[in-house]
Amino acid sequence: MLAPGFADPVHDAQGTFRAVMDALARPGLLQRLDAGLEPPTPLTPELAAIALALTDADTPVWLDAGLAAAPEVAAYLRFHTGAPLTDDPARAAFALIRDPARCPPLARFAQGTPAYPDTSTTLVFAHDAITSGEGLNLAGPGINGMTRIALTPLPDSFVAQRAENRAGFPLGVDLILAAPGLVAGLPRSTAVTES
């Protein structure tokens, strides 16, 4: 049996989008995200909510190895969003990553073009936990001075990868960081440094 999508498609999608919008507008600030979904494992409720709110037939979606190995996940996303799934991260509009520790290098995803930097991939990470006030230092647009955020798990050489991503601005990928009940944003404009 296919798991259901949003109970209230209009308002649940709007609520999910607003949480993501606020998260990207205020990088590092945690936003509540309670979508009430029970998607097939290993897809998390937050990943599913963001996919249902933002993807459709216009947005190729890339799944990481763990998600791609579960046919129920692909069936769930195909049914509820109609989004085409792609094997090529450089073609993806969105990438869903269940295991951030094993995420391919950020540089392998679409970076956008100098004339159209908006054509880059938006990566959605499912973290076990995100806490604010500790961990990495964040600065840039949307941040009043500086803020801190700790991600569990942290992708390999994350700070170096983010520095490379930031150096290519305005090109680069944008990250949506989800954890149970929470979402945070790390747009390409944010500078990430070790504390």
Partner: protein, 342 residues
Amino acid sequence: MSAIGMLPLEGGAPEVAQVPSPVRGRDRVRDTPYPERPDPSPQPSPERERGPGASEAGEAGYNFAYLDEGTKRMIRRAILKAIAVPGYQVPFASREMPMPYGWGTGGVQVTAAILGRSDVLKVIDQGADDTTNAVSIRRFFARTSGVATTTRTTEATIIQTRHRIPETPLREGQTLVYQVPIPEPLRFLEPRETETRQLHALAEYGAMHVKLYEDISRHGHIATTYAYPVEVAGRYVMDPSPTPKFDNPKMDQSPALQLFGAGRERRIYAVPPYTSVRSLDFEDHPFRIQEFTDPCALCGAEGVYLDEMLLDDAGRRMFVCSDTDHCEGRRADGHVGTGDAV
């Protein structure tokens, strides 16, 4: 019955407020997408007002906030990319709206895409809550979404604006949605979109500085007074929409999120909260805002943007706050201006 007879031309603010903006240039009000309906409180109330049909989804037969869900998703994706690249113009598939281009279709689409049931919406037109464009857009969303509307800046979560930023400082959690006619700051210098895209890609903004320099050589000062170009987060040069340059300093490090929608030109761009917005200038000709010699004649406010109001055929005029909510709030608090015409 003459259709024009239905338009209360001399009726004063309450009736004028019911005239939907898209009727300009048309002679039959009956054809407008806003059929006449009795309004229990036509005067914009300072209290929070709920639109008709506020209890549930709003107007029957329409999706919440008018747009279909696929369109909202497309606009939402554009907004997220606009936030990630501050000041960059994201193309989007602008839809036809039940009002003509030039009446705020870009701002309306952005507002429709972000609006939720718990939002409180304020709409201003040149600072005023009670002018035609503001009233009709506010009523459009009250009818199609049922959200609460307000005229008070402090109560609003979303403020859609045409060419002013409220005098009351915005706070975190508020979103300012601008209606933008021409989003490309370089358009009058370079008409080709392919070329302006290259100029933005290369951050080649010399032509804009030449334009400002020509102002100085011709007038002795930078004569650009509205749509004054700004540099966002040290990278993209952006058109702040035709706001008076008086409002440019309010954009810098604002706690509120600022979204810009251009419907006819099909562009969305954004300035996240706490982002640097610098008005372009020269070391020897620094950016300066307009100054007014006299305070508001109604509320006595100083350091606010004033509108010139003609009072009679003899040319007597009065300078009053452009921000009607700010002016009403001050008068309610007991501030009184001179009431003098000049």
